[in-house]
């Protein structure tokens, strides 16, 4: 019985790769199997190679590996693109009747299944269903009951009516039957199913869902890959909770709208990716000086400039930490798993309001677009707590008035957090500005007031360090001489790499850090280790720099900036190499 199966569908952008992949992933999740998906897409709508990969097992899967068991190749290029991952015994499903596929040579040792996808689809009601025929065939090859596909097809096509659903079911069956009856393929895989009920979602969706749960009611954004899913998720859902989504004319507008909504008292958010962060940075400073609670999600893609919009990278860390002119207190949270996207998003809203400052919530592309199964209880709505910080009730206003009865919106309190009066609160009307201001919010250039306000804003960070648990998660062997540290989506691959390293007799202690600023002090952990290796998806080691800065210790860097995420087996090799003192540049295949 094969448990851990890797499956993919690939073709031209516009071939419906994404939705076909989703259907298969959902079918597996309905069958009580864990699913971890990854996408390989070019930044084009039509043309350009695209693939959707699914890894599935009965145990949790948290990463991708260098192996493909079943590949649906809608184009010849799909085979070439995946040659490295295709192994002895891998099955390639393709349509030999298609002129472009007629001369396909199936590499030695692999099994080619030639299936007339188009003709079978037409038999079921239309060529458009050729991908579903392929899904049916893949189910048969995987030894996975085609019935589970039916549920996924209802979910996908249910709204379009009975007829469409039954045609698609028929298409899936024709695919299955063809493999059974017309080929000499003999069952090699057999996917076990379970009674578990899983939900399947990606990082962007987890962020959107958490935002609603956390009371976010206003979202303004401008479309950009890979952050758009957050906006699309919220649109049509947030309204039911009394909120609104506005598609702004640009990122400058988006962050300013969100700022306005936050000043009016709403929990507000905007989301974007690198280029949008650059556009927002002037207003980012205003958010911080005006002490407005705001959550800004930066779903990182590969930069600089427009870079590689559909590719993985963790290159914006410095931009988030240091972006904007002047000195600006801000928090940077970076969830490391899809599940954690939920928790950190809720926390981001609470931190923003408790400390009245902008909070960057950052996910990398791999985290944002990957879908993964979770048990629904993982997203504990009952456990969501909303802390709105120091919002003053009308009867508390009095305490915060100066001798002339003016509200001290920027009172230099001991903890650095001032009272917050939402508009409409009687007798607390006040102005706020990006100019340096006094406790009343009025412009000033007086030296002592300037110093007082700068210190007051910075003090919030120290207060938060005292009061909050900006912690890390720990895996592997706590006493190992090798310490690996990573942030963002690398956690999944690294956790799996731990097992592979263990098999090779290498013990590793692994820390995954979801807080970039403020962040846990890792000095003790680093000092206790022999080899310290920081893993991240960028070329300069931005996170490694921070660790060195904090701990005054040189660390090794395992960096990948090809645009593709780390794979577990690759990471195991890299870590082993780093321990041995070999520092290989990132390997680019072909």
């Amino acid at each position: 019985m094969v448990n851990d199966l890797n499956w993919a569908i690939g073709g031209e952008a516009g071939d419906g790769i994404d939705s076909t992949g989703k259907i298969f992933a959902r079918a597996l999740s309905r069958a009580g199997r864990h699913v971890f998906t990854s996408k390989d897409f070019a930044s084009r709508i039509r043309g350009g190679y695209t693939a959707y990969k699914v890894r599935t097992a009965v145990e949790r899967v948290e990463s991708v590996v260098d192996r493909l068991d079943i590949l649906i190749a809608l184009t010849e290029r799909t085979i070439d693109e995946n040659l490295d991952e295709l192994k002895e015994g891998s099955v390639i499903i393709y349509d030999g009747e298609q002129t472009t596929m007629a001369d396909v040579e199936v590499p030695e040792g692999m099994i080619g299944l030639e299936i007339p996808l188009n003709s079978l689809a037409e038999k079921a009601g239309g060529a458009i269903m050729r991908n579903v025929v392929a899904l049916g065939a893949a189910s048969e090859v995987a030894g996975f009951p085609v019935e589970y596909l039916d549920e996924a097809l209802v979910k996908r096509f249910g709204e379009k009516g009975e007829a469409i659903v039954s045609n698609n079911r028929e298409a899936a069956r024709l695919g299955r039957d063809f493999v059974r009856e017309e080929t000499d393929y003999s069952e090699e895989f057999s996917l076990e199913t379970t009674d578990e009920d899983y939900v399947l979602l990606n990082g962007d969706e987890a962020i959107g869902m958490a935002a609603i749960a956390a009371g976010c009611r206003f979202y303004a954004g401008y479309p950009i890959t890979p952050a758009t899913d957050i906006m699309e998720y919220l649109t049509g859902r947030i309204e039911a909770f009394g909120g609104a989504v506005v598609q702004a004319e640009d990122e400058l507008s988006a962050i300013n709208m969100a700022l306005g909504a936050a000043r009016a008292g709403a929990r507000a958010m905007t989301a974007t990716s690198g280029p949008g962060i650059d556009l927002m940075s002037e207003t980012f400073g205003l958010v911080a000086t005006s002490e407005t609670p705001l959550v800004i999600a930066n779903v990182m893609r590969s930069g600089p400039s427009t870079g590689m919009p559909t590719k993985q990278e963790q290159g914006d860390l410095n931009a988030m930490l240091y972006g904007g002119h002047g000195e600006i207190p801000r928090f940077v949270l970076a969830p490391t798993t899809i599940g954690e996207c939920f928790d950190r998003t809720v926390e981001a809203f609470n931190l923003a309001e408790k400390y009245q400052l902008p909070v960057y919530l950052t996910a990398d592309l791999a985290l944002a677009v990957t879908e993964q199964t979770y048990s629904p209880e993982r997203f504990d709505m009952e456990g969501v707590e909303i802390d709105r910080g120091k919002v003053v009730d009308p009867d508390e206003v009095e305490e915060w008035l100066d001798e002339k009865g003016r509200f001290k919106a920027h009172a230099a309190t001991e903890d650095g957090v001032s009272p917050r009066a939402l508009p409409g609160t009687p007798d607390a009307a006040h102005m706020t500005t990006g100019l340096e201001h006094d406790e009343l919010g009025r412009r000033t250039e007086e030296e002592d007031v300037r110093v007082e306000q700068v210190q007051k804003r910075q003090r919030k960070v120290d207060t938060a360090r005292d009061r909050e648990a900006f912690d890390y998660r720990e895996f592997g062997d706590p006493d190992a001489e090798t310490l690996v540290i990573s942030w963002g989506s690398n956690e999944g691959a690294m956790r799996e790499a731990l097992g592979m390293l263990d098999d090779r007799g290498i013990d590793v202690r692994f820390l995954s850090v979801p807080y970039i600023y403020p962040r846990p002090d890792l000095t003790d952990e680093v000092e206790a280790a022999e080899d310290v290796i920081v893993v991240e998806c960028n070329a300069t080691g931005q996170f490694a720099d921070l660790i060195e800065h904090d701990t005054l210790t040189r660390v090794q860097r395992v960096m990948k900036y090809t645009g593709v995420r780390f794979k577990a087996d690759e990471l195991a090799d890299e870590i082993e190499g780093a321990i041995a003192g070999e520092r290989a540049p990132p390997e680019v295949k072909r």
Binding site: R30, D197, Y198, V199, L201, E205, M209, I212, A213, G215, R217, F218, A220, R237, E239, F241, G242, A244, V246, A248, E249, D250, L252, S253, N256, M257, A258, L259, G260, A261, A262, R263, A264, G265, A266, R267, A268, T283, G285, L286, S290, P376, F379, M381, V384, I386, K404, P423, G424, P426, D427, A428, A429, M431, T432, T433, G434, L435, R442, R443
Partner: protein
């Protein structure tokens, strides 16, 4: 909201640092009068200001207010209004702020028909940065950055607004105080985006678009047979080069503001305590 609000309640105790004689004094007084006349008080009013001499207005008025970054006041006002529809939102800025760096936001705020009032203190110059050409400076205007006279013709803000689907387009003159206050009041009362461009002379840097010039050239639409409900007539007035009108140029009585079209009517600041009701269904959707 109290009916006994006086316009001076909207005055802060900060003394304006505008040059004596600056048109912005009159512009601000008219805004405060209009707010009081329409039954607002400082606690339910939110003023958003841009950057420039004009943008300082938020400092001199008393209300909930935000003094933003250059050119972005309209999106802030949009966010405030959508998040809390109970607030009276007024956005103010200069011609550089609104028609240069912020012109994109201007078009889109008009197009969205957000129910806010936008007052532009149009002095046809950059005041705060000491006298450079602005988008409304007339062609040939000599400034520090255009010593041989500007080569670009000025933008026509009313035409931009009309083309973007504006539903209330007015032009006012800061020193004609009663009419000015009245126009701002009508903009506040309008259901949708109330746009008032105000001739607000800069006595320091603009020696062309002076009080005397405006007094001599202005045509008061109230003294003509202009019907603001007539789109074609409004278009003719607006497209007439060099015409200096005051009054309501165009008003669409059927205007439906953005929030009404989107069904936004709640104060989003109110978040119920405890676990979000009905949020469980969000998880189930991913089955």
């Amino acid at each position: 909201m109290s009916s006994d609000t006086h316009f001076t309640d909207f005055k802060s105790d900060k003394q304006p640092t505008w040059c004596p004689g600056c048109g912005d004094f009159g512009t601000m007084n008219g805004m405060m009068k209009a707010l009081a006349e329409t039954g607002n008080d400082p606690d339910n009013t939110f003023v958003v200001a841009g950057i420039g001499c004009s943008g300082k207005i938020g400092t001199y008025m008393h209300s909930y207010a935000l003094h933003g970054v250059h050119g972005r006041a309209l999106p802030v006002g949009t966010g405030v209004k959508l998040a809390n529809p109970d607030l009276e939102v007024m956005v103010a800025g200069g011609d550089g702020d609104g028609y240069s760096i912020g012109v994109g936001h201007f078009i889109h705020a008009v197009r969205r028909n957000i129910d806010i009032t936008y007052v532009v203190m149009d002095n046809r110059i950059y005041g705060l940065t000491k006298g450079q050409a602005s988008p409304t400076s007339r062609q040939g205007f000599e400034t520090a950055t255009s010593p041989d006279g500007t080569v670009e013709p000025p933008v026509n803000p009313q035409a931009l607004a009309l083309a973007a689907g504006g539903t209330f387009i007015a032009q006012s003159f800061s020193s004609d105080s009663q009419r000015h206050a009245d126009l701002v009041q009508r903009a506040i009362e309008h259901d949708g985006f109330g746009f008032v461009n105000v001739y607000s002379p800069c006595v320091t840097f603009n020696d062309v678009d002076t009080y005397d010039y405006f007094r001599d050239s202005i045509v008061n639409l109230d003294e003509t047979d202009h019907d603001p409900g007539n789109y074609e007539a409004a278009k003719d007035r607006i497209m007439d080069p060099g015409a200096e009108h005051i009054g309501v140029l165009y008003q669409n009585e059927d205007s439906v503001p953005f929030s009404e079209r989107e069904g936004i009517d709640r104060n989003m600041a109110d978040i119920p305590d405890g676990a979000p009701e009905r949020a469980d269904r969000l998880v189930r959707e991913f089955y």
